[in-house]
Symmetry: C2
Subunit: 417 residues, 2 copies
């Protein structure tokens, strides 16, 4: 197979389909989403059978249990895929929204119209349900999509692709609006990320290694999410109960997620009061603590090294540092944060306002758990990822992040003088 020719063909088809998708009205796009949901419901057995092939191959190839778990399409996960499609159908359509129309002295009226990005390339690892999630968000936002899933889920992804094609066709949309790459050849990824004529943006979903590789090699813009080294700062004027509730929730609600707290900063004035209680609660949950010297003078824990401040544990481990004021907390965050999500716990108005303004992360919070940094919790309906980039979209990326705004100008014959 000539991978370059094949990917070029997918790209050309996607570009052509993107023009149709940009014109498709909300009703048609919603009908396609519902038809895809119905096709998945009708083809549960075929999906499960295809997934079983992937699972068998995975076991034979010695895939780790965690990978096999992510690969599996359980009945509950198929239900979730169907519900997700229905939810995306129910979301408002961002495309075509006109805003800020103002008259200028020349007599022209200038404003902005929200438009799809065009063709979105999605590169992901083993979870086959990403195929439906990503396709549905791109479809609703009027984009064409090229999906490249992990090679270990190829049969599952192809089966899902057939459901998507059926739903698109039923709604009268071009089936190349959503294309799943059929080859497992790794060269396909290299082509996909270097076709600026056919692909407008790449969204990689997966581990930091994958995302760094793609960002380095891409010749099209990448909406990327690297790591989540999130901080909670307990200020001297924190409400102790809020501080404890949030510090426990942000670390222990789920360990393997990007919005979990990895480093806790505590003001020296309240460290004696707060840290012993927290240490006891963390111990009950089996969280290993690694503290700075001041922390270790108060509670019993191992010594934190420079590496700890830079680590996204994704595990029941927490680094703790005692700081002397807000500036020291912000300095620590600016130095070590991955600019994902940080929260201050305080009752002090001025410090809360400074933290919001001065912390340069995609989500900055006051008196709330970092675990809220999520498209559903923010009301975006769904998310294609959480961007730690600074341009285009920061934080959870929903339908709006898959669009941009062009200028529109209404005149009645104006010329420039």
């Amino acid at each position: 197979m000539d991978v370059k020719a094949y990917m070029t063909q997918l790209g050309q088809q996607a570009r052509a389909a993107s023009r149709q998708m940009a014109k498709a009205n909300t009703g048609v796009k919603n009908a396609a989403l519902i038809a895809i949901a119905e096709a998945i419901e009708a083809q549960r057995e075929a999906l499960t059978a295809a997934n079983q092939i992937d699972l068998d191959n995975g076991r034979n190839n010695g895939l780790e249990p965690a990978m096999l778990d992510r690969l599996e399409l359980t009945p509950a996960r198929i239900d979730t895929m169907i519900e997700g499609l229905q939810q995306v159908a129910a979301l408002p359509d961002p495309v075509g929204e006109i805003s800020d129309m103002n008259y200028r002295p020349s007599g022209i009226q200038v404003g902005k119209m929200r438009v799809p990005l065009g063709v979105i390339g999605i590169i992901y690892e083993s979870r086959p349900n990403v195929t439906v999630e990503a396709a549905s968000l791109c479809l609703k936002s009027g984009n064409a999509t090229i999906l490249r899933g992990g090679s270990e889920s190829i049969n599952s992804n192809q089966a899902i692709a057939r459901c998507i094609a059926q739903g698109l066709e039923q709604a009268g949309l071009p089936h190349s609006a959503v294309q799943v790459v059929e080859t497992t050849d790794r060269a396909a990824v290299g082509e996909l990320i270097t076709m600026p004529a056919y692909v407008d943006v790449i969204v990689p979903r997966g581990g930091k290694g994958l995302i760094e590789r793609i960002s380095n090699d891409a010749r099209v813009p990448v909406i990327k999410h690297l790591d989540g080294i999130c901080h909670v700062y307990i200020d001297a004027e924190a409400d102790p109960q809020k501080a404890i509730d949030i510090a426990i929730n942000a670390k222990t609600h789920r360990y393997g997620v990007c919005n979990a707290m990895e480093t806790l900063l505590v003001h020296s004035a309240v460290a004696d009061l707060i840290l012993p209680k927290l240490a006891q609660l963390y111990a009950e949950k089996g969280v290993e603590l690694r503290g700075c010297e001041q922390t270790r003078a108060i509670i019993d824990c191992v010594s934190a090294t420079e590496a700890d401040w830079q680590t996204e544990y994704l595990a029941p481990i927490l680094a703790i540092r005692v700081v002397d004021d807000l500036d020291a907390a912000i300095d620590h965050i600016n130095q070590y944060s991955s600019q994902h999500t940080e929260s201050i716990i305080t009752e002090n108005y001025t410090l809360a306002r400074r933290f919001l303004a001065e912390v340069d992360s995609s989500s900055v919070m006051v008196n709330a758990s970092t675990r809220f940094a999520d498209g559903f919790e923010y009301g975006l309906g769904a998310e294609i990822g959480i961007s730690t980039d600074k341009i285009h979209a920061r934080g959870p990326v929903g339908l709006e992040g898959l669009t941009s705004q062009k200028y529109i100008v209404l005149g009645d014959g104006q010329i420039r003088v």
Copy 2:
């Protein structure tokens, strides 16, 4: 000189300064802009003397007259620089704007805050006034800047840099908030565009060759403007006078600008009526016409080749094509446009609405000259460039395009359940 070490140092200083700039309030930033204007006014003689060195070197090195013209800091251009600074000081500050604060079912309140991008690298060619224009927009939007001008304007740029440093210092802002690269070594550009730790976005200003090179080699996002192959489509239901006024203005108001029309599309039903009048007016202005076969059946002109549809002439040359309907016009535009600016001339509501929705360019107009695609005309106050990219910012990029939005979350102790 160790260029890598030098550029790394500039980057580190810029990153540190960007934190100060992000905190600087509107009054302080405006005071710096005014102080820079005053420093330029006070140092007119020094600026002119430094510029004279560049002009002499340029002449000795055989620079073309057009390049020498762009390089020259005339008294009028110094006036314009001073006025530009005063205008940017008068613009609203985009930083800190909070929008869309909504309560979520969990009780948290979620919205967005507009924030600077951080460090912006500007790469430009000979015009030294860009140094002040770019620096003032980055300063007002709370960013630190590293400016790399053309080597032929190094003395002028250094003299301007001294005025900027003086103004920053006077306002109490770090002078490394605006740094002008002091070496003319080309390796400095290579370093600047591959320091993602220190530079958040690159804005290249110059010819297409420069911008393509930078886009290819950059490892940080680039806000870029490639070419402007702009179209005007005269529909069957166009008001003939508006059509003629706009077609003449869009082509002949200025030839060397990116928002000039390069291809005129005319509906076949009105070609007989419109083209002879236009041909006469263009002939009076010395515009060479290159037409499709249908055009040549109506007016006398040379034959347009495939290359003509793909060319940004930046000259008194116009390609003309007769089309049979709106779909054919949109197909032509989608195939050949550089997605800069297109305008339809029509009195038909439905066709105007379709053109606005379906043409995928950064500015789409109805009954207005493409020459309006400009930051000043759109009311942005000033522009750092016109983006033909699809993500982050499309069209004229003003202060807002030099910022992005982070999420802010206000809670009173909420945890994720």
